[in-house]
Amino acid sequence: MFIDPHAHMVSRTTDDYEAMAAAGIVALVEPAFWVGQPRTFVGTYVDYLSSLVGWERFRAGQFGIRHYCTIGLNSKEANNEALAEGVMEWLPRFAMKEGVVAIGEIGYDEQTPLEDKYFRAQLTLAKELGLPVMVHTPHRDKKRGTSRSMDVCEEMGLDPSWVVIDHNNEETVRETLDRGYWAGFSIYPSTKMGNARMVELLKQYGGDRIIVDSACDWGISDCLGVPKTARLALESGIAESVVRQVTYENALTVYGKSGQMQASDWLNPPPIDQRTLFEGNSILRGGRDPLIETPARHRCDSLHGDDLLIE
């Protein structure tokens, strides 16, 4: 049983949902993000946020996966001031919606003054609303950008135990953990973190406050990043309790602080939950015939053998 606490499902197919469910993912967190090109109207951003709390949640529910999200203005689009001002007006309303487990993903991209301004404004909002924060750390100038993100969180009076610093690597993890934050690792091919490297980090740091996610999105990425890492870790001799911490429990603990996410949501769902549009553990409702050989099953073969590695 896994949680993928960072997955951009608006960019993924039903095949992915099937594969994730078949691989044991019971819940996921979809952070509001940059969809690959800038939005140029406030209204398109608003409709995107609305799709995170509405349509995408429904889509996940059809596959028996509980969908949560984070609400925020991402660092790239914070650089369009007119857009950013407009979006900031709508954010509090969306942040109060059900299943919103954090403000995020927010932080720095190029570390501009506008990025800084809206990062701080959103940290204030998170504090006011009593929500955890998911911080996206920059791809470039990563080490300093990560330190600065934590400096600003502290300046704004946030409790590190309410903040996930995501996209960590070998260079940033020590400081992140030492300062009391949750350390997210995105198992994302080529650019962020590979799962063999992740296993080494688990050997070194154990499982406390470490969170593994896929960050799967519109790029070449793997929605099975969490289960594949779990499998590889177990095969490499990492204790089952540690694997469970980093692929399930830690995410639940920190995002559960929102009051919007609890294990009973997926462990004990009503058979058909009409009011929350969750179809329990069956994707076969609605007249679909059971498939003998599903794509999901093929995909789950990648949990064994050569395809297990994400580099």
């Binding site: 608003v46 919606k97 009051g259 009409q274 009011r275 549009l277």
Partner: protein, 288 residues
């Protein structure tokens, strides 16, 4: 003087809200004195957090009162937070027309909230002005959202024109949603719908697919006008539920040809006459 829908919702939610009852009652009162929309948004966000999402507990007397306050209104299946949200909307006296505010609420609603907002449709002020948002809800691919308008909700009966009504029924069949919970299904039956449904049934049969037998309920009264006898005869030879449905449809048709056809199905005709077969109990097992 009859009690209003708002008063019923207020009483039901406050009595179930335990330690939140004072907060809830005070909010309703503040909204009815006039408030800004931000206060309403905050309330809508807090309602599930403070009250919980459990079922609204209603007795049979409560349901009878609901039906008196608004004929056809059936709040069974509502949640506590949902009822409080609708009550707040009914109480709210804001700066803008209700329809403008409602549009904004729908635009930002989460999935659960959409269901709640649509369930209250018939009770809102100037309900006809909400037509556009209702259309959006009907077009939704989220089945629960569609059903929040279509099932146990008197709004379609009272406000849909024939075209929209007919397409609602057809979509319900398309997505495998039942017809029995549509308020006013018999009242709003019409020849055009019967024609559409007959075509639909024949298209399904041609493709080797099953037809939801509830469909014949909308065809029966117009069987003669839309030439549905051959199709009903086929249904009469089908599954137990189809036989039951065809029998009831032919009884509703009440024509000489229909009576001839019924004479070939004496068992189900007798069950219907005894009241052991009806649209909620289409098969012998269920009716027995």
């Amino acid at each position: 003087m009859t009690v209003t829908c708002f008063e019923l919702l207020r009483d039901w939610t406050c009595r179930q809200a335990l330690d939140q009852a004072d907060w809830l009652d005070e909010r309703y009162a503040a909204f009815s004195r006039g408030a800004n929309e931000q206060d309403l948004h905050l309330f809508l966000g807090l309602a599930p957090r403070r009250l919980g999402k459990q079922d609204l507990i209603l007795s049979s007397e409560d349901l009878a009162l609901a039906n008196l306050a608004y004929p056809g209104w059936n709040p069974s299946g509502w949640s506590l937070d949902g009822a409080a949200r609708v009550a707040a909307l009914l109480a709210f006296e804001g700066p803008r027309p209700f329809a403008a505010m409602f549009q904004d609420l729908v635009r930002t609603a989460d999935a659960h909230e959409l269901v709640t907002l649509y369930r209250g449709l018939a009770l809102y002020p100037r309900p006809a002005s909400l037509e556009f948002e209702v259309g959006e809800g009907l077009r939704s691919n989220m089945r629960a959202v569609f059903e929040s308008i279509v099932h146990h909700n008197p709004y379609p009966r009272d406000h849909f024109d024939e075209h929209r009504w007919n397409h609602m029924v057809l979509k319900a069949l398309f997505i495998g949603s039942g017809l029995g919970a549509i308020v006013g299904l018999d009242e709003r039956a019409n020849a055009e719908l019967a024609r559409i449904l007959l075509d639909y049934a024949q298209e399904r049969w041609a493709a080797g697919r099953q037809v939801n037998p509830e469909l014949w309920r909308c065809v029966g009264p117009f069987a003669e006008r839309v030439s549905a006898y051959a199709a009903l005869q086929r249904a009469l030879a089908g599954t137990p539920a189809e036989r039951g449905a065809a029998t009831l449809a032919l009884i509703a048709a009440d024509t000489p040809v229909a009576r001839d056809l019924l004479s070939t199905a004496p068992d189900t005709t007798a069950l219907a006459a005894d009241g052991r077969l009806d649209w909620n109990h289409l098969t012998l097992q269920e009716a027995a």
